[in-house]
């Protein structure tokens, strides 16, 4: 692809706590649809975004059983953007900061996620057309 780009994102927020996680994945999804190569460095709470033990639940306040509620799971969104990038000729390299994983017990992730270090973020950013850090508050 002549106009293929490489973008890097650093994320910090755990899922389900604020709007930044969703906006980050919206951005990654746009890049994935374009077939870009996308690097994600998940730092601190963001290592929980691809956590494989996230589970749906019913919602009595909404009057929904599990299936009808279809509760969003960021791990599904992560898997979806990984697949979308591949479908369009790009790829997602999702790196969870290893020490952040250890302190949170967040080692179990969906496929396509690897463990890494801040050096990985530096190297990714150095080789990218653009880098965006989305900090937590």
């Amino acid at each position: 692809m002549a106009d293929k780009k490489t973008l890097t994102f650093a994320l910090m927020d755990a899922p389900f706590e604020n709007a930044r996680s969703t906006t980050a994945l919206r951005l990654i999804d746009i890049a994935a649809r374009r077939g870009y190569d996308i690097n994600v460095f998940a730092y601190e709470g963001a290592v929980y975004l691809p956590f494989s033990h996230q589970a749906k639940h019913a919602n009595a306040v909404h009057g929904h059983e599990v299936e009808e509620e279809d509760h969003p799971l960021p791990r599904e969104w992560v898997s979806a953007v990984i697949a979308e990038a591949e479908k369009n000729g790009g790829k997602v390299d999702w790196v969870n900061c290893g020490l952040c994983v250890d302190e949170r017990g967040a080692a179990d992730s969906v496929d396509g996620v690897r463990r890494g270090t801040p050096g990985d973020f530096w190297n990714m950013a150095s080789a990218s057309d653009g880098t965006l850090v989305i900090p937590t508050k």
Partner: protein
């Protein structure tokens, strides 16, 4: 590539992490060969204050052994080749005098910050 790490939020999980996670990642990236500087602004200018002191923290019998030493962590950066800039107006608005700060920090005025960015390929606001 040269990057500027901007730190604005302060005391964000610093007791659990025993450091500031962005000061920490700056040290880590520098150690991995990165070329970085730091800009302390907003409440994070308080990280330069020498008198910071985390008191004894314990939960039941579980006592913290390795309390964060934020001023020291910041003060070590220039020696590693990471210049640390600090915004003057943010200090004065918070009643922090120059003598309250650790050595080695480079004061800049708020007006100078846009010009400061010129020297960096990447500007990361953490």
């Amino acid at each position: 590539m040269k990057a500027l790490n901007i730190i604005e939020t302060a005391y964000r999980g610093t007791l659990e992490e025993q450091d500031d996670t962005i000061v920490w990642i700056t040290h880590a990236m520098k150690g991995a060969g990165g070329d970085l500087s730091v800009l302390l602004r907003g409440n994070a200018v308080n990280y330069g204050v020498k008198a910071q002191n985390v008191g004894a923290l314990s939960f039941g019998a579980r006592q913290q052994k390795s309390a964060p030493q934020l001023a020291e962590d910041v003060a070590k950066l220039p020696g590693k080749g990471v210049e640390v800039f600090i915004v003057e107006e943010d200090l004065s608005e918070r009643g922090i005098a120059a003598g309250d700060l650790v050595d080695g920090l480079t004061a800049v005025s708020r007006d100078q910050v846009p010009k400061l960015f010129d020297g960096f390929d990447q500007v990361w606001h953490w």
